[in-house]
């Protein structure tokens, strides 16, 4: 059972235990679900029993107009079908004339049609003369070139179109957009039909301020020549355009450009970046994982308006840091996975406005971090997997605004934690695989500002968890590999607001699950994998967690009977049951039938998806 507590079980894949894959196995915590605002004086039980209020008359009318538009066309299509020719006078109902509506109301009707997926090419044609200004057709099913042509003809005044993820569109369809000369925002991200020719439509859009083509592999660079005349562009997103070679040169005349995202463009290199020299207003630049090296940074160093810069994974060295030191407007900088060390990092001490700095997986050590002590505005520091220890924490303690600290996979121990525990604004603290033990956790006793804490290390036990009783507002707690038993789980009663909890050290039994079920009613994610003593007897306690969306019970002793009962968790979307050899595929299918929202169930090595 040596593998029982191994992190390899956390995800079903990525089983290599090499360092680089750690990042893959530790995804960033999800954004918490939107909180429902409630009057605290009213009991939730009462409010839950109420039904949503009736729709407004406006919403009722919008829906009715949308329905009659759709109905009119259906009747039209049914013409000639003998069974549908009625003798009633409904056929006299005149066609709905949307052009009598003020444009904001026809816009509402259009949006209702889109949201309810009732919009068709013919209904789109009804909006002629309505002066629609926005069309958000993101991932709209069945959207074709002809349909897009109807839209462009009926609504030539559009200022914003979102067609991202519309897979059926071809360059011909996009070219119809040339009629929309007033467009200010165009989003064609993730459209496989976008290529150099498709971009020709952009040439006529002289008012364009925002263009997004993320993930469009068909753009080779030559297509960007059509963009070169759109001199009002403020924001261009070319992220993950893997066909892009030598294209950035066409952006050199876009002197109003404030934001350029070319991250993960595999063929963008330092020569391309040279063309950006003229973009003096550029504030946000993302070149993560491109082929940019120190030579490219020489250009970037002259873009003095830059406020955020992402060079994660670029082949840059300490020499580049010397050039970056002049970008004194910088607020956010990522040099994650870059080969920079102390000699380079000390050059960053001049960036007095810096608030966010990511040096994760770089070669920086304690000495380099201590040079950064003057950066008192820092709110976030990421030193994941760096060769740093307690001495680096001396610098961290100098940054009074520090909120987010990542010291995962470092040599930071109890002394280091003592140093940073005096900071009063800490919100997120990651100390996974550090040298922190129970004695160090004690220093967090009064750190009540913390909302997210990761103490995934074998040296933290029930005693350590006991020191966290005052962290009443904590929402995320990762004790994945910590040695927590049922006794320690009792302390969770002090943390009623927890939304995510991971306890996978093997020491939790059914009694421990009772403590969780009784105390942590806000949980949306609960990971109890590798606790091989959890059985069906724990299920009633889990059923108390109504908000649970994600539950991991892998390598537990749960059986078919327990799994079937989980259908009462109506918000459940993912369930991990890998290694639960008392659970049959049939029981999982039965559960699926009862839980329409359940989209992923991991059972053994086969992850079935609905």
């Amino acid at each position: 059972m040596g593998a029982v507590c191994s992190r390899n079980n956390r995800n079903n894949d990525n089983n290599n235990s090499d360092r680089p894959n750690r990042a893959l196995r530790r995804p960033r915590p999800r954004t918490p679900a939107v909180k429902r605002v409630r009057d605290p004086s009213t009991s939730p039980e009462f409010l839950d029993s109420l039904l949503p209020p009736p729709d407004t008359l406006l919403a009722c009318s919008v829906r009715c107009v949308a329905q009659s538009l759709e109905g009119w066309h259906e009747r039209d299509e049914d013409e000639g079908d003998i069974e549908n020719i009625d003798t009633d006078d409904e056929g006299d109902v005149s066609r709905v004339d949307l052009s009598v509506l003020p444009s904001d109301l026809s816009q509402r009707v259009f949006e209702d049609l889109v949201q309810t997926r009732r919009l068709t090419a013919r209904v789109t044609g009804d909006f002629i003369g309505c002066h629609l200004t926005e069309a958000n057709l993101r991932s709209y099913p069945g959207l074709t070139d002809d349909w897009l042509a109807v839209l462009a003809t009926s609504a030539p005044n559009l200022s914003s179109i979102n067609l991202s993820g519309c897979a059926a569109l071809t360059p011909d369809g996009f070219n119809a957009l040339a009629a929309c000369v007033e467009l200010e925002s165009l989003d064609v991200s993730e459209c496989p039909g976008v290529n150099d020719n498709a971009l020709a439509a952009v040439a006529s859009m002289s008012r364009l301020r925002r263009l997004a083509c993320a993930g469009c592999d068909g753009i080779t660079g030559a297509g960007l020549r059509y963009v070169s005349g759109a001199t009002k562009l403020r924001c261009v997103n070319l992220e993950r355009c893997n066909g892009l070679t030598n294209g950035l040169v066409y952006l050199s005349g876009l002197t109003e450009l404030e934001r350029l995202d070319a991250g993960w463009c595999n063929h963008v290199d330092s020569n391309d970046v040279t063309s950006l020299r003229s973009l003096k207003k550029l504030k946000h630049l993302n070149l993560a994982r491109t082929k940019v090296d120190d030579q490219g940074v020489a250009t970037i160093g002259s873009l003095s308006a830059l406020e955020t810069l992402n060079l994660a994974g670029c082949r840059i060295t300490d020499g580049a840091c010397f050039l970056l030191g002049g970008l004194t407007a910088l607020k956010e900088l990522s040099l994650e996975w870059c080969r920079v060390g102390d000699g380079g990092v000390r050059r960053l001490a001049s960036l007095a406005k810096l608030e966010v700095l990511n040096l994760g997986y770089s070669s920086v050590t304690d000495e380099g971090v201590q040079h950064l002590a003057p950066l008192v505005k820092l709110r976030e520091i990421d030193l994941d997997s760096c060769q740093v220890g307690d001495d680096a924490c001396k610098a961290l303690a100098e940054w009074p605004n520090l909120e987010d600290v990542n010291l995962s996979d470092t040599a930071v121990g109890n002394l280091g934690l003592k140093r940073i525990s005096k900071l009063t604004r800490l919100r997120r603290v990651n100390l996974s695989y550090s040298n922190v033990s129970d004695d160090g956790v004690m220093y967090l006793e009064n750190a009540a500002s913390i909302r997210s804490l990761s103490l995934d290390t074998r040296m933290v036990t029930d005693e350590g968890l006991g020191y966290l009783a005052k962290l009443k507002d904590i929402e995320e707690l990762d004790l994945f590999g910590a040695r927590i038993t049922d006794e320690g789980a009792k302390h969770l009663r002090h943390m009623p607001r927890l939304k995510t909890l991971e306890l996978c050290g093997g020491g939790i039994t059914d009694a421990g699950v009772k403590h969780i079920g009784d105390a942590c009613r806000e949980l949306t994610l609960l990971n109890l994998g590798q606790n091989f003593r959890i059985s069906d007897a724990a299920v009633p306690f889990l059923l108390q967690l109504h908000k649970l969306g994600s539950l991991n019970l892998q390598y537990s002793r749960i059986s078919n009977e327990g799994v079937t009962q989980l259908s009462q968790l109506s918000n459940l979307t993912t369930l991990a049951l890998k290694g639960c050899n008392r659970v049959s595929q049939a029981a999982v299918e039965e559960l699926r039938a009862k839980c329409p929202r359940l989209s992923e169930v991991g059972l053994d090595n086969a992850t079935a998806s609905a």
């Binding site: 039904l51 009736p54 009318s61 009715c64």
Partner: protein, 99 residues
């Protein structure tokens, strides 16, 4: 605001007498009733809508009572039926009345 009645008058001269509470489902009417600026509407509790026909205003009043009945209700809320031929005008009226 004391409990009473308010008379809503359509463009074509039809009068609808409704509970003040019902009329205040319309945020626009509510703010008119509450304003202490001495609107003529406030004094004789009569409001004229020169752009809304009687047929539409009748439907609007029906909606006021529907809304009152089903707000914070434990019964299931039935759909408020809008006749298709009135939909466009009702849309404009509801937008104006803010309800």
């Amino acid at each position: 605001m004391g409990h009473g009645y308010v008379t809503l008058v359509s463009a074509d001269g039809f009068e609808f007498v409704v509970d003040e509470e019902a009329a205040c489902v319309s945020k626009m009417i509510k703010s008119m009733m509450q304003s202490s600026g001495g609107f003529s509407e406030r004094r004789d509790n009569k409001i004229t809508f020169p752009e809304i026909s009687g047929k539409i205003l009748e439907k609007v009043c029906q909606y006021f009572y529907y809304k009152l009945q089903y707000t914070d209700s434990r019964d299931s809320v039935p759909e408020f039926k809008v006749p298709p031929e009135l939909a466009l005008e009702l849309l404009m009226a509801s937008n104006y009345l803010d309800c």
